[in-house]
């Protein structure tokens, strides 16, 4: 690979190699304040390669690859190289991680107490986490909550926050001083723009937190908050975990402990303000 970039995000480090300079330069700029991998050795390797050698010159598109692969991952146009890098990094972690139980969730923390927001794409995880960070919460991550099976604590994974469509404008208004990546229009996930986690998130990224609340937000419905039992939370979180099966008994122990100790609520909300009020209330 001609262009290489390495970064540590919480307890996880990546090395990204690319056939093109562009995506690596963007990553380097946006992750400028993140540390390098400890001892220079990355946990995961990601490759952004030209789908065909000649395609590097003619309508270039990016195929993502690494230690773990999805054979049918569609190539993305080079203009979306940053998105390809993000997807590839997520994929390596999602499929390869064995130290932590991974929950597809955003996490924010205040006074050592973490709130976990989980739900399908479009539920508002990233948006709510970014908006809460504008209100003094520490952003631990918008994509993966890393649950330590030994301690029951959550570890931060403050990667670039991936904002989609209308969320881009909402978060820009709430965080006018924040740094954002380039707007990538018309990706398979819609219009995407990345938010750089703030200095608080980066300074504290090695500090784990105790989960105290699990929220299943759902955007586009009238205000409603209903408690979710431990059994239902367990089922939903096995679906929201990318490595529950791979962790075996350790995953079972970690997740049963989590749902027994952490009260859960299903939160329907019509707009971000009401969700924030419900989460902070």
């Amino acid at each position: 690979m001609r262009h290489v970039f390495s970064v540590r995000i919480g307890p996880v480090s990546f090395r990204v190699g690319s056939d093109w300079r562009g995506p690596v330069e963007q990553l380097r700029a946006l992750y400028a304040d993140h540390p390098a991998p400890v001892d220079g050795i990355a946990d995961y390797t990601v490759r952004l390669s030209a789908t065909r050698p000649w395609r590097r010159f003619v309508r270039p598109s990016v195929a993502i690859a690494g230690d773990y692969m999805l054979p049918d991952a569609a190539p993305l146009p080079l203009a979306h190289g940053l998105l390809a890098a993000e997807m590839a990094m997520n994929l390596q972690l999602a499929l390869g991680e064995r130290r932590f139980l991974l929950l597809h969730a955003a996490t924010v923390e205040r006074d050592g107490r973490a709130i976990v927001l989980t739900g399908e794409s479009g539920a508002g995880k990233s948006t709510l986490a970014a908006l809460l960070s504008a209100r003094g919460w520490r952003l631990m991550g918008d994509e993966f909550a890393l649950l330590d099976p030994e301690t029951g604590l959550l570890h931060a994974f403050p990667r670039l926050v991936s904002l989609k469509n209308a969320a881009v404008g909402v978060v820009r208004r709430a965080l006018p001083e924040a740094r954002f990546g380039p707007l990538m229009a018309g990706t398979p996930k819609g219009d995407i723009r990345h938010l750089v986690p703030d200095a608080v998130a980066l300074a504290a990224m090695d500090r784990p937190a105790r989960p105290v609340r699990l929220v299943f937000p759902r955007y586009g419905f009238a205000n409603d908050a209903q408690p979710v039992g431990a059994g239902e939370a367990f089922v939903r979180l096995t679906q929201a975990s990318t490595n529950y099966v791979a962790l075996g008994e350790q995953g079972f122990d970690a997740l049963t402990r989590f749902v027994r100790e952490v009260p859960a609520v299903a939160l329907d909300y019509p707009d971000a303000d009401s969700a924030i009020a419900a989460i902070e209330g």
Partner: protein, 87 residues
């Protein structure tokens, strides 16, 4: 014809965690998590590591001769799920 007998894994072959209304059962041999409700944990306990006949299970749960249909259904489900052996 010999009567069908059933056996669940020994106690240390399962991890069982009550989660409100559901009970999560982790089967160590297969690595599969099962979500069950009563009386499955009680059934598993009654034949943990031990072959039991339908007769003796029905007796243990106080079922009369006409009430065994549901027990057979539960046992068949557990056999299909791989949590219980039948012989």
């Amino acid at each position: 014809m010999a009567e069908t007998r059933y056996r669940a894994p020994a106690r240390d072959g399962l991890r069982i965690a009550a989660l409100d209304d559901l009970i999560a059962v982790y089967h160590r041999a297969s690595g599969i998590t099962h979500l069950v409700v009563a009386p499955v944990p009680e059934l598993l306990e009654a034949m943990a590591g031990e072959w039991r006949s339908l007769e003796s299970l029905a007796e243990a749960f106080g079922l009369a001769a006409g009430e065994r249909g549901a027990l057979i259904e539960r046992l068949d489900e557990l056999v299909a799920a791989g949590l219980v052996e039948a012989a």
